[in-house]
């Protein structure tokens, strides 16, 4: 592009053959661009030199900052002097300031260069039509049809169909191989349906592992609890679990226990004997996608899932009162053992957690 005379209105330059060369006469004449005004750096050599020096100074300062970053990196420890400047650590502040300034100065230098020294002439480029020229399109379609004709696939349906079939059946080995990527027993859905809970297993406080005396629980209490088998000792004789199995059983066995006024509870059919004097226990795993839930409101008996706001009414068999969950939280039948501690009557009688294809059949 060369415009030697910027002070006159520019006429559009034409680059491509298919841009219309002459435009229809418009009711108002195209006024063109206003006359170009010059920047001080364009007309004053001193200003130009000054801008050059400023830009170079910024790039040099950026270099210094980058070097200072390296110096700060090696001279400050992250753990030391953690509240040097306005509650922030010496290392954090100096690393952030030096690297930030280095990047910022490079940016400002480039912008300064563009604004002060690079050519800033106005120019007009006409908009291209989106489609390719007609002759290009015709030639492409011709080439495609020629190719198809020469291959003869249109004329030989047997070849065409067997070729498509061969490519389709190639998907089968992929499916078989990918299926084997899953752990050996992952397709055994019976594992999803059962947890570690068994009759007479004590309920213990999560993290602490201490058993829970039914008589010490007050109305309004919420206990995040776990199966005693997750805290094996010589005394209780449960086997030590490890690795993936431990994590899996821990996640599946998690429960919440609440105590409410027994008159507030509307037991589901057949679950009248599942509570102990207003103490009621549900799986802690949301039936939507399996988040652990314990956001419990004492006055409404609602428990809310933090992930997608599914809300369950624990006083009413944990029915879903809001949100995307499709089924109530599974309830763990409770009893009290000879020493007064809370125990499970049995495992959950339905799979806990999120739905899966085979769930309804069980």
């Amino acid at each position: 592009m060369s415009h030697d005379d910027h002070s006159t209105a520019l006429t559009p330059e034409v680059h491509d053959s298919h841009v219309p060369t002459h435009r229809e006469v418009e009711p108002l004449a195209d006024p063109g661009l206003p006359p170009h005004t010059w920047r001080p750096t364009d007309v004053d050599p001193k200003a130009e030199k000054r801008a050059e020096r400023q830009i170079a100074a910024m790039f040099i300062a950026a270099m210094i900052m980058a070097v200072l970053f390296v110096v700060a990196y090696f001279s400050f420890e992250v753990g030391d002097n953690w509240d040097t400047f306005a509650g922030m650590g010496a290392s954090t502040v100096s690393l952030g300031v030096t690297l930030g300034l280095s990047l910022l100065l490079i940016g400002i230098g480039i912008i300064h260069l563009a604004r002060k020294l690079m050519a800033d002439a106005e120019m007009v480029e006409m908009r291209h039509p989106a489609a390719s020229p007609q002759e290009d399109r015709d030639a492409t379609i011709q080439a495609l049809t020629d190719g198809l004709d020469e291959a003869g696939i249109g004329r030989r349906p047997l070849v065409r169909n067997t070729m498509l079939g061969a490519m389709g059946v190639l998907g089968l080995p992929v499916v078989v191989l990918l299926r084997d990527l899953a752990p050996g027993d992952a397709l055994d859905t019976s594992k999803l349906a059962h947890t570690i809970w068994e009759p007479e297993m004590r309920l213990v406080r999560d993290v602490v592992g201490t058993p829970i005396l039914a008589s010490e629980i007050e109305v309004g209490d919420l206990i995040n609890a776990a199966p005693e088998a997750m805290f094996p000792t010589e005394e209780n004789g449960y086997p030590e679990l490890e690795g993936a199995e431990e994590q899996s059983e821990k996640a599946k066995g998690a429960i919440i226990i609440v105590r409410m006024d027994p008159d507030d509870i509307t037991p589901a059919k057949g679950r009248e004997k599942w509570t102990v004097d207003g103490i009621i226990c549900y799986s802690k795993i949301c039936t939507h996608v399996g988040c652990p839930i314990s956001l419990y409101e004492r006055t409404t008996h609602h428990v809310l899932c933090p992930c997608h706001q599914s809300t369950f009414d624990l006083a009413d068999a944990a029915k879903v009162v809001f949100g995307p969950a499709a089924r109530p939280l599974p309830q763990l039948p409770l009893a009290v053992d000879g020493e007064g501690y809370l125990v499970a009557q049995s495992d959950f009688n339905e799979p806990i957690g999120a739905s899966y294809w085979e769930r309804e059949k069980q």
Binding site: W38, G89, V208, T300
Partner: protein, 290 residues
């Protein structure tokens, strides 16, 4: 010793003097008087408080609380949307009153989903009187002692153990509502779980014990007193934890931090770009050799 003997001898010489009886009498009065001022008033007020505190508390209660909680703390049975307007205070104990009134939550400015913490209306003596009155209605949790919620008496090693155990208990039982950092969070129907930062250990202990508003209880049968103490020790410890990476932005997690980055960070970049593009100096001269 000799000096003492000599002094005793000198005093002894005067023991039959005319003023000796008067001096002994004055000395005796002085000693018994000062002993009385030192010890007796405490006993007197404690006895008086047993008798008067409940009465003073009842007067305050009738003036400030009875409108919602009933003249005898029996509650107002009006139910709206499943909520009891003023719940019964029978059996909530002194701890509940000390928490609710001592943090300014009660008296509430207006009924609603949340009882926000605000300026405390009553002085310590009045709070104690109200607590004594409500505690007299029926037995309930008492106000905890400093030793219940403080790890002062423990060795350094025991403190560290308490803090790490408290952290695990906190992450299991409290984070659902109060956030992993104790910064609080939103609750259904316009309520919120308040931030635990800067809250006195006593009030956290009382809240655990009594379950204020919608919060569940963590009674002694649920979390033992030592476990409650450990949770408080953990909360104290996270306030001392340095923010190595700078501003915590309320410690609310990735949502607030992402929002800040997008609005403040990208917003200021867009603003700067617009500002740069709209500012330029132009000369009135034209280029000589153009």
């Amino acid at each position: 010793m000799r000096v003492l003997n000599r002094t005793a001898g000198r005093l002894s010489r005067h023991r039959r003097g005319p003023l000796a009886g008067l001096a002994v009498l004055l000395l005796g009065l002085l000693i018994s008087g000062s002993l009385y001022t030192a010890f007796a008033p405490a006993q007197a007020t404690s006895q008086a408080s047993q008798a008067d505190q409940v009465a003073q508390g009842k007067e305050l209660f009738l003036a400030s609380c009875a409108f919602c909680h009933g003249k005898n703390g029996e509650g107002i049975p009006t139910v709206r949307d499943g909520y009891q307007i003023g719940p019964s205070l029978v059996g909530v104990g002194a701890a509940a009153v000390d928490f609710q009134v001592g943090t300014g939550r009660m008296p509430m400015a207006s009924p609603g989903a949340q009882a926000p913490r605000k300026a405390v209306v009553f002085n310590d003596e009045e709070v104690a009187a109200l607590a004594a009155y409500v505690a007299s209605l029926a037995p309930g949790p008492a106000i905890p002692n400093q030793s219940d919620y403080s790890i002062e008496g423990l060795s350094e090693e025991e403190r560290q153990e308490a803090i790490s155990r408290g952290g695990q208990i906190f992450l299991t039982n409290c984070t659902a509502c109060h956030n992993f950092n104790g910064a609080g969070g939103a609750m259904p129907r316009g309520g919120y779980a308040p931030s635990l930062h800067g809250v006195e250990g006593k009030y956290i202990y009382e809240a655990l014990l009594t379950g204020p508003q919608n919060m569940p209880n963590f009674s002694n049968g649920n979390l033992s007193p030592d476990e409650k103490r450990d949770v408080i020790a953990y909360l104290d410890s996270i306030e001392d934890t340095p923010e190595y990476a700078g501003f915590a932005l309320g410690g609310l997690g990735p949502v607030s931090e992402g929002l800040f980055a997008w609005l403040a960070g990208i917003g200021s970049l867009v603003g700067a770009a617009v500002w740069i593009a709209s500012h330029t100096t132009r000369s009135k001269k034209s280029k000589v050799n153009a």
